[in-house]
Symmetry: C2
């Protein structure tokens, strides 16, 4: 069977790149490691922003904006944080260019900065400094803020959406009077991420705690949501950190408690990024391109008029415009339906396949015969082909389609989730012996998924040894799922000691 993409998921890396290109989501920018996010990709990000921002605000957070540049000295304060982040960052050293005398430009040696500025890789240091100004008394707590921003981490190997030098994200930062409150906040936002990923992106995830070796630099505990891609690999799709008083000590965030004593605040931070778009592609895409979950599809319904340079064309366009209006008057997921009438100068078949590759949930084709019968021809992106392999285009009465559009979109959203959830569930397998683990992830095994193993939560050198053994198999511990109750089961797969909990192990992006 022929598909719309030039490559199939059998070559997963090439397929991923192909979806991004064919769906016009993003492209290389000519600037090392930075991409151009095109309207279809950015439109999805805007939808994610809107939906997640609503949740962030509903949980009491306010948006702010902090500087792009962070003085070098800010990074020198929190030792572990420096260690983890101080390596690959973009450093601004000059504030002026001058002619180089050869027709080009060069940084002006006269305009060298006294203290270099780092382009933020994350903002704990600069936001913590503000918290120290804002927080004086217990009455000033909690401080609950968030920012939507671009950040830069100088990655050696980049991959669109998944790992780019510059990326877009939100970073929440909070300060609390007690460790308990800060831990609650950390888990509250993790739960918001889980719900957002599952409800809005149709991305089933496992929420859990990262092992010590995977903690954010300077954190006491790091939690993540992990999604399983169609190749069985894991994608860390969001993280939430309990920072204890580590950053408060480094940045002097102190408050007078109700008893008049000075205490250090407990802080948290949490973020999700444009990386999630990569997750959406790798979970919902197929050999015909992306399948955009309706809640984040920039356009949920696209109307393609079948024009033939004939006098009839005009009435078809009128029919389509009325249809678009009727659809926009419908409400799906609590918002007006996003319906586009595609009037670009291109052939109808080209447009159809363009929207298939972009993954618009519903594509309507309207020709003279459809119009005459008061119908539309409906293509559902989640059920593209009939059993005989032909494109499944169903003629439906226009009014019925309009009346049922919200339900159809909800059904598509749920269907994408269910499919991915089944894959996730099937992809996680309990493993009790190291040899079984090694066999599960042997070279020849395709899509091994994740192993669910019991471990003793070793620390120090013992943990290092575990990490090294896993590294040899290109594996990492993804997280220890939350909500584990009772006994973790068998002895630790690594140490043979009594297990403390179960963790998920897999390959990852």
């Amino acid at each position: 069977m022929k598909h719309a993409l030039p490559v199939s998921r059998d070559d997963f890396a090439a397929w991923y790149q192909s979806v991004i290109t064919e769906a016009d989501m993003a492209e290389e920018s000519g600037v090392r490691g930075c991409m151009v996010i095109r309207p279809w990709g950015y439109g999805m990000w805007e939808r994610m922003q809107r939906l997640l921002d609503d949740r962030i605000k509903a949980t009491g957070h306010e948006n702010c904006y902090f500087p792009l540049f962070i003085p070098l000295s800010y990074f020198e304060k929190e030792a572990e944080h420096v260690e983890g982040f101080a390596k690959e960052m973009a450093v601004v050293t000059h504030h002026r260019l001058i002619a180089d005398g050869k027709g080009g430009l060069t940084p002006d040696p006269e305009a060298k900065l006294e203290e270099p500025l780092v382009v933020r890789p994350t903002s704990e240091t600069v936001i913590g400094t503000a918290f120290a100004r804002w927080v004086q008394s217990w009455r000033d707590l909690p401080v609950l803020i968030n920012q939507w921003a671009n950040v830069v981490r100088w990655e050696m190997r980049t991959r669109m959406f998944l790992r780019t030098a510059e990326f877009l994200w939100q970073e929440g930062h909070t300060a609390h009077a007690t460790a308990e409150e800060a831990r609650e906040e950390t888990l509250r936002m993790l739960e918001e991420y889980r719900a957002f990923a599952e409800d809005c992106l149709a991305l089933p995830v496992i929420a859990g705690e990262k092992p010590e070796n995977e903690r954010f630099p300077g954190a006491v505990a790091t939690f993540s949501i992990e999604a399983m891609m169609q190749d069985g690999k894991a994608l860390q799709a969001g993280t939430s950190h309990f920072l204890g008083t580590n950053f408060a000590h480094a940045q002097n965030i102190r408050f007078q408690n109700a008893e008049g004593q000075l205490e250090y605040a407990n802080t948290t931070s949490w973020g999700v990024s444009t990386r999630m778009i990569g997750g959406v592609i790798m979970v919902h895409g197929d050999d015909d391109g992306l399948r955009a979950p309706p809640r984040i599809a920039p356009w949920q319904v696209v109307i393609v008029p079948m024009l033939r340079d004939a006098p009839e064309d005009e009435t078809i366009v009128i029919y389509c415009k009325a249809l678009q209006k009727e659809l926009a008057a419908q409400s799906a997921f609590g918002e007006p339906v996003r319906a586009l009438l595609d009037l670009k100068p291109a052939k109808a078949a080209t447009k159809r396949w363009g929207w298939v590759k972009k993954g618009a949930p519903l594509i309507l084709e309207v020709g003279g015969r459809d119009m005459a019968g008061g119908n539309v021809s409906v293509i559902r992106r989640d059920r593209l082909y009939r059993a005989d392999g032909k494109l499944d285009s169903a003629v439906v009465a226009k009014d019925d389609f309009v009346a049922g559009v919200a339900e159809t979109l909800a059904e598509i959203q749920q269907g994408l989730f269910d499919e991915a959830k089944a894959r996730l569930t099937a992809g996680i397998r309990p493993v009790n012996e190291w040899n079984d683990l090694a066999a599960m992830f042997a070279e020849a095994v395709e899509k091994p998924g994740w192993a669910d193993v019991a471990w003793s939560r070793p620390t120090g050198a013992a943990l290092d040894a575990v990490v090294e053994r896993l590294k040899a198999l290109k594996l990492t511990i993804r997280n220890a799922p939350l909500g584990q109750t009772g006994h973790p089961g068998d002895p630790c797969i690594f140490t043979g000691e009594p297990a403390m909990e179960r963790v998920l192990i897999g390959r990852a992006y």
Copy 2:
């Protein structure tokens, strides 16, 4: 009469800074020239983004995202653009830090970039490069895109919101088949800016064309909207540029026309920034702080319960929660009313004056007596004091207040606009002689406003001479208002030659 701010508008510069501080809008960040935008300031920016973004999309533009970094060589292509922008920019030269051996960090000499990267001061160069890839045929035109982004211009003297090293803005970029179409687009977006400023920010503006010497580097024509601050100075609040084929030549944006011939595209760009927030402060603020126009106020109605650590408190809070719900169920300006119940642990009077300084349009105080009578005590921020100088707090039946809240908000919005419009109109005076102009802007004159003069639109050395004469009086030509019809009137105030048009002259931020 005593006011809420420590300084009055008589010391306009100190007053401006005081509003920003007392209304918690922004603060110094510790990073040179960069500010922290706090929730009340950022909330206003979010409102502006939402309202302007709707207009940008309604006129057919799509949002994208382009890289923060621009390779040096991109700037070398468009000669005038380099000249105008290549001076004060942040330059990234290294991509790694290492320990400096003295306990600190330093840029790693091993990690010097081959080609330095400029932090975007504006994105014509990088977006034009993308346009060159996207545009092949007339069918690909027009390209209509926009991005919301941070940009950096290394300003020597900075001032919050008005001139900061980093600022937030939107930049629209479009490419068209013909110069006519591109000019139309330039003026269409200027008109969108005018309507947005007047309808949403209650900022009356004059839309017009900038003189040649004030054009954007590389533009064929630059248009602006200019607002008058309460000290009579002008603030350029938005610009729209017709770039002709200048950037298309530099970046090779060419298309095959319907006849099969290669042509250069005509491009435009247009932007507004967080600077507009400075304009809102300087137009609508008073000696008690900001008066936020309801359409962009993060909270339109703030409810302050008058609690006294008494058993009655609980029922007051219940009453207030119900009130908040009723208000949120109302619609103003086509959106749900944004009503906040302020339950922070502070005294009611402190909260009241905090909201006065922030400029929340309506402040409701609810004590036991209000509740008993089914009332609320209403403070309108636009009519803060009675004739006798006392705070004007009116007891109103709760249900009446709720039923009328949309109308009251609309009245406040209109009132702020009318007041500013009257000031703008009164502040512009026709001047026919150079001596009168000099007298109008003599040192001793307070709030001189703008002069409306006829000029012959000189170019080259003659224009330079005009610019120099005006500079001596600290004046600039703001713009030549659009829609001028018929004869411009008197001879040119500078050259004595027959006038071509009338221009506005004033001092500016």
